[in-house]
């Protein structure tokens, strides 16, 4: 993307400081993660529906990527997303993807590939929390003619490939990574996946191919929340242990607490030359909103069943909001202040 207002903050340069004055990136991650959960809950309440449990499980990993791990330039995309640009093709020469929200494509910069695109609401919220997208952009979510789609595609903010047919993203990212190696690029390639995608054979085809071709400029973070559309993975088709399966196919893998930014970062720093790295982030689909657990295993898409249930969750949102008394009916801009800009906000509750 070449248009837009590059006013977004580089999240790595701003934020909290530890008592001795050093940058305290884990505190920034926790604050961004809280903002993601709060924003997705708010949105779910407004629309009586949303991929809320995915925000609970993945907020910390996504925040760790954007705040600490990924070396990205400032957004080169419009702060408020443009309408759907049409599909790629010979009659649409001006088409561009949503990757501009992750900064320009440069040899020395990292790239981000988002695979479970039904988490799009979580990614949009992340972009807002780290200052790469304007809060009012979320008002376009799932609106006709918008690029801020329910299930993201490559025109959607923060998306670079079309990944909605799950397990194709990793192979595409591997192809990009291979090409970047051939070109001598030094930037890394980060892929965010969900655990259900490890049921697809293509995922293991991709890992085997990356190992064979020594594609070691790829790191995968997996949101292993043990949930999928039909319910708990243990009732659909168990695929644990993911890390051992990855190693069997020639990759390296680590198991971490997916809510611990420092554990994720430590695992990401332990890359092995010649091998792709898969970090299995074990997560709780109710983290930050424990009330969700009362829904049992119906977590894939949260829709409140009664006014009473909605009121209970509204109270939770109120608690999560800094001042605790955000008025109902305020528009999305009420949560507009990107967390990374608000140094001094309280840290996460997790």
């Amino acid at each position: 993307m070449t248009t837009g207002n590059p006013t977004n903050q580089d999240p790595g340069t701003r934020g909290a400081r530890s008592p001795d004055g050093r940058p305290d990136w884990p505190a920034d991650v926790r604050r961004v993660a809280l903002g993601i959960r709060r924003r997705v809950l708010d949105h779910t309440l407004r629309n009586n529906g949303g991929y809320l449990s995915q925000a609970c499980s993945s907020a910390d990993a996504l925040a760790t990527l954007y705040v600490h791990l990924m070396k990205l330039g400032q957004s080169v995309a419009p702060a408020v997303p443009l309408p759907f640009p049409g599909v790629p093709g010979p009659d649409n020469p001006g088409y561009s993807t949503g990757a501009g929200y992750n900064g320009p494509h440069e040899p020395g910069l990292d790239r981000f590939f988002f695979s479970p695109v039904h988490y799009a609401l979580v990614l949009y919220s992340t972009l807002i929390e780290v200052g790469r997208m304007a809060p009012e952009g979320l008002a376009q979510f799932n609106r006709d003619g918008s690029s801020v789609e329910l299930i993201g595609a490559e025109h959607s903010p923060g998306h670079e490939v079309t990944a909605g047919s799950l397990a194709q993203c990793l192979s595409q990212a591997a192809g990009v990574a291979m090409a970047r190696k051939l070109k001598g690029d030094t930037g890394h390639n980060w892929v965010f996946m969900s655990d259900g995608e490890f049921q697809e054979g293509q995922t293991f085809e991709a890992i085997a191919a990356m190992a064979w071709h020594k594609i070691d400029n790829v790191t995968v973070l997996v949101d292993a929340n043990a949930q999928q559309c039909d319910g708990a993975m243990s009732t659909v088709m168990e695929i644990d242990p993911i890390a051992e399966r990855v190693r069997a196919f020639g990759g390296t893998a680590a198991d971490v607490d997916g809510h611990d930014p420092e554990a994720i970062a430590a695992a990401a720093s332990a890359r092995v030359p010649g091998k792709p790295l898969v970090i299995v982030c074990h997560t709780d689909p109710c983290r930050g909103i424990p009330l969700l657990a009362t829904r049992g295993e119906k977590l894939h898409y949260v829709r409140f069943k009664s006014a009473q249930e909605e009121a209970v969750f509204r109270a939770v949102l109120s608690e999560m909001t800094q001042d605790g008394n955000r008025p109902d009916g305020a528009d999305a801009a009420a949560l507009s202040s990107p967390a990374v800009l608000g140094a001094g906000k309280p840290g996460g509750r997790e």
Binding site: V87, P88, G89, P90, E154, V161, T162, G164, S165, Q168, S171, Q172, A173, A174, G175, V176, A177, M178, A179, R180, L182, K183, G201, Q202, E205, A206, A208, A209, W212, H213
Partner: protein, 363 residues
Amino acid sequence: MELVTRPHARNLVRFSADKPRIVVLSADLTASCEADDFRDSYPDRFLSMGMAEQNMVSFAGGMAREGFFPHIHTFAVFICRRAFDQLAMSVAYPNLPVRFCGFLPGITTPGGVTHQAVDDLALMRALPNMTVLECGDATDVESVLDVAHAIPGPVYIRCLRGQVPRLFPADEPMRAGHARVLRHGASPDAVARESGCDVTLLTSGVCTEEGIRAAIALRKRGVSVDHLHVSTLKPFCDARVDAALTSAAKGAVVLENHSVIGGLGSAVAERMAELGCGRKLVRLGLKDVYAHGASKGYLMRKYGLDAGAVVRAVEELLGKRLGICEDELTALDPAPAGPRSGGCGRNGEVVLGSLPSVKAEDL
């Protein structure tokens, strides 16, 4: 008739010599798809992807996003059926310049139903952004990569391998969206007429050789035939084809190495309806059936993909018997040596030997 040995193998090396962004991806069928010379010539640009087509196709999309031109090599059937969703979402949707070199189209393999791509054109034509090309002879094979390279989006190519006949002059390369008008056996009068014929015959791929035989025999009996060899199946908007379809007094016959559903026959039917031709169309191809493992010659006869089938279809359109026997058709040489083939007024008289069969070890 000249037979060219492994034209794709040589052409791929030639074509790639001055294009460092050409890469070749193969799924364990490297020599079988004549990518072995490329592998040996440019090992740094050859990626063995193992027997894993889904990853290979999405991976190619990723490389194309970074400015490379991946040329996927495997059997046509495995590209189209095993990785259709990957092809649609990782390559065709983003309009990426990946080239799918699909070998063993239709019944050109004795490998049987698992190896025979009889629905690939239907699948590939249905994908937005996809260009679909098919080779009919060695000259087509030697020029198809250049045609594809000029197209900024994805291209599916039905390739030929092994001993490939040369039907068209080596210095008349394939052109995108440009059917070859074939005048084998036509009299100077027929060539000179500006428009109008009894029957239009459209053929593609290996069926064009059969179509030429039929056209020669038909012209000998005084039937005026406009015969076109179609190599661009999508987009299907060739003024020469349109003119031939609208000028045929009795109707059109299509002969193709594919199901009658979704391939050239379907494209012609759609076009004739759009043009308001109001004439009959006979689609010759696999009649919505699967084939089985046997020689190409046997299968073409069994399933009515040969010159005899064309003659019978024309007889039906004309409402009369022409007295053309099988022996006459097989004796015709569709590309006699010497003077340029495809020229006007030349009756093939050279006896043609048996068609080359695919060896079992080539499976």
